[in-house]
Amino acid sequence: MIDIKNLSYSYPLSKKRALNDINLTATEGDLVLITGSSGSGKSTLLYCLNGLIPHIFSGSLSGDIKVAGIEPKTISISEMARKAGTVFQNPEYHIFMPTVREDIEFGCRNIGLGEEIIVSNLNRASLDMGLNSLLDRETGELSAGEKQRLAIAGIYAVGPRILLFDEPSTNLDAQGKRSFREIIKKLKDSSYTIVLIEHDTDLFEDIATCKYVMEEGELKKISSIEHGSYRDKVTYEHHHDDTIVIEARDISYGYDSKTRLFNSLSIDIKKREVVAFVGGNGSGKTTFFKLIMGIISPQKGYIRAGGRLIRSINDSAGTIGLLFQNPDEQLFASTVKEEILLGPQQLNKKCDYEKIMARFDLKKYENSHPHTLSKGERQKVAFASIAVTRPEIIMLDEPTTGLDEKSWSSLMDYTCSLVKDGVTILFSTHNMKVADRYAKRIITLDKGKAIGA
């Protein structure tokens, strides 16, 4: 079904080869698992398989590529979609129509299938993806897992025998990941050919027929996936004191009067603690962080942090630093230097600019535009711009999402090194490996309760 020989590609205006001499074959019922660090060329390979290269991305392409017996460059992208369907990382971007039914039909209509075929494909896709009871629901109201299944259903309904997935489990919680794994297994068993790019390889390792790692544009076949060097739980020299830095008392919060996300929740966090917040999508991890920051206010109860009663953002700015799940949303300036100095200027705080640049190894990017750096580096700049204001508490919202293990370990290592300076750290994550390795305490949020608080 897939036959690639000596494929090389470089993007326009780039001298570096994004793909270098790739060879890959796959037949019916194969599940090809590809891993590798961010920016190594995994997505580029998918673009070659679905025809985005060369139809959308020009650049220089050489070698042979056949997908379902056809060279992608000879037919249009929409014709290619009937042979090989692609599901990208964020299902949000895949959904175009207001209801589930219309969205599944969307792709079928675009490629010009007849009404009868559309109806039967819709039924098959919604049944196989477990969406048959949700057909009339509005797409905006779906949960993360349902959106993911809808994204797959929309591609699947068109009828390709090859399915390509680009980091599909990134936005899913543990339960979502398990049900996604079941879908993949079912597809494989119905002899679909699947190419799966994934950071979280544990999930699929046992059902994969072959495994590859992408390194700097080179695809290497491997027999088993190396899990980095296994690292023990981080040990901290400094134990936490008895001073309570965050005191959340009898917090009740709900988005509307009917549903309560939290009902008299109380959590105390001591100075120098490192606390991981875990729990499924919608369990309220991000909401809890927003409450601590004063971005939203509880309907009942109060929060004290860093010795202050938190009523609005003004009470927490400077005392608590928050690293967003998407750090790009907190990079404002046009150079890294300006970015780092912005917070101290606004908060009238002194800062040791040189020290922070050295500590985060950012001196070489001083005059670069923060948005031109790689994702891991952008996160580092965002983090440094928070650390430079010397907050007493640092919170990280899903810091590992979309990053490979090397990138997130380096972020977590320097975050947790701040404990010795007396900083208290809170982070939320889906990834139990991160929680186990770095947290002194794990709090599980579930149905409005905090287990471990």
């Binding site: 971007y93 700015a317 790009d328 750096l373």
Partner: protein, 416 residues
């Protein structure tokens, strides 16, 4: 106002019928003249609104907003009433006062003006009742289907549909970025700080939008929805935009809507300098959008797209708003075509800003206001409003220049 999911006679009507209803009311608003005709029109549209069973809290809000409109109209017309005879109720500035009196010819409050204002505000009331009826009873996607039936260009309907789809997403992103700037320690308690914060916020907002636009465009392509493919190129269209360009344009349509949200929520109550504040974010985002897709047709798609999009989701399809968009589009497209320059330099940003501000406000005071709404203003007031609207637009152009330089740098070095 937003769509309400309930079941009424009005909800069951064909969207096409509702589109026709909007057009009929718009025409009547322009044609009807006497107080009794206008009163009749307002009563009928209000009764039809009640048939669509508006939610009580929303109705209360609407009534409050309408109360403000009626008050503002009657007060402004009380000052600017120019028919005879007229009785002076109150003298604010005597015409013999040095300087101000000479410029303004005196500012007086006329009794007949109040009555005139009350009668004329019935036009606005009728339009608002009609618009609310249509918006709360028609799902946006139904309205798009109706628009497709009257054969609006496929590009425009794609832009409106994409904008509706990604609006909630973009509102969330915008809120988070505003939170992030506040966390940096920005206090938005004075004008200069707010400006600075606005400038900083635009950069991540636009860079993120462009990144997302790329992903959305790729997803559209792999789902077979393409403006780039060979079959699409054969279509008889002057515009020939590719999918990515259209998604970028859609995102700017949403950003324009998001930028004016604060004005709907209370800032519009700032008397006199409203035109100035309103023009800055609007012009700024519009011009950055044009800079990102620098070619003929972009201006048209962003402005018409924005106009139709806001009508579909909140104002009701209404031909009375179209001439604004057309005037603005015409002047900017003409400027870009003649200057052969799609915002390459600072001065073209400022000229474009000045042109749009000037044309939009002149259109309002010399065409829309006297001929549609039958409201009149003194020359000094028109000059003052047009001046500050134009000034705000020029300033918006300047900010747009600075931000787009930063965004393009990110673009050039592979950040997007």
């Amino acid at each position: 106002m937003k769509y309400q999911k309930i079941d009424t006679v009005i909800h069951k009507l064909n969207p096409f019928a509702k589109l026709s209803y909007s057009i009929v009311i718009s025409v009547l608003v322009v044609l009807l003249k006497t107080p009794s005709q206008l009163f009749f029109l307002a009563t009928v549209t209000f009764c039809i609104l009640l048939l669509a069973r508006p939610n009580f809290t929303r109705l209360k809000l609407l009534m409050y907003a309408l109360g403000m409109v009626v008050m503002a109209t009657s007060i402004s017309q009380a000052f600017f009433y120019y028919f005879e005879p007229k009785t002076i109720l109150l003298t604010v500035v005597d015409k013999n006062t040095p300087v101000i009196g000479t410029i303004t010819g005196g500012i007086y409050l006329y009794k007949e003006g109040i009555v005139y204002g009350l009668v004329q505000s019935l036009r606005i009331l009728s339009v608002m009742f009609m618009a609310t009826t249509v918006v709360i009873s028609t799902h946006p996607s139904q309205m798009i289907m109706a628009l497709n039936k009257i054969r609006i260009p496929r590009e425009l309907s794609f832009i409106i549909a994409t904008s509706i789809r990604f609006l909630p997403h973009m509102i969330e992103d915008t809120k988070r970025i505003w939170t992030a700037i506040k966390l940096k320690g920005f206090k938005l308690n004075n004008v200069s700080n707010s400006f600075k914060a606005f400038k900083y916020v635009l950069s991540p907002l636009i860079i993120n939008s462009l990144r997302q636009a790329r992903l959305v465009a790729l997803a559209a392509e792999v789902r077979g929805y393409s403006f780039s493919s060979a079959s699409a190129k054969k279509r008889n269209s002057l515009l020939k935009f590719n999918t990515l360009e259209l998604v970028i344009i859609s995102f700017f349509v949403i950003l324009l809507y998001v930028a004016i949200l604060p004005f709907k929520m209370g800032l519009s109550k700032i008397p006199f300098i409203h035109a100035f504040f309103f023009s800055i974010p609007f012009t700024c985002i519009l011009l950055i959008g044009i800079r990102m897709v620098p070619r003929m047709g972009t201006t048209t798609l962003i402005i018409l797209g924005h106009s139709l999009f806001t009508q579909v989701i909140s104002r009701g399809i209404n031909p009375l708003w179209w001439p604004y968009a057309i005037a603005e589009t015409a002047i900017l497209e003409a400027y870009f075509a003649i200057a052969k320059d799609y915002l390459k330099s600072r001065h073209s940003f400022i000229i474009a800003g000045i042109l749009r501000g000037f044309v939009v406000y002149l259109y309002f005071y010399f065409v829309a206001s006297p001929y549609i709404w039958h409201k009149f203003y003194a020359p000094w007031y028109i000059a003052l409003q047009t001046f500050q609207g134009t000034l705000g637009s020029a300033l918006g152009g300047l900010i747009a220049y600075k931000v787009s330089k930063s965004v393009e740098e990110a673009y050039k070095y592979g950040g997007i």
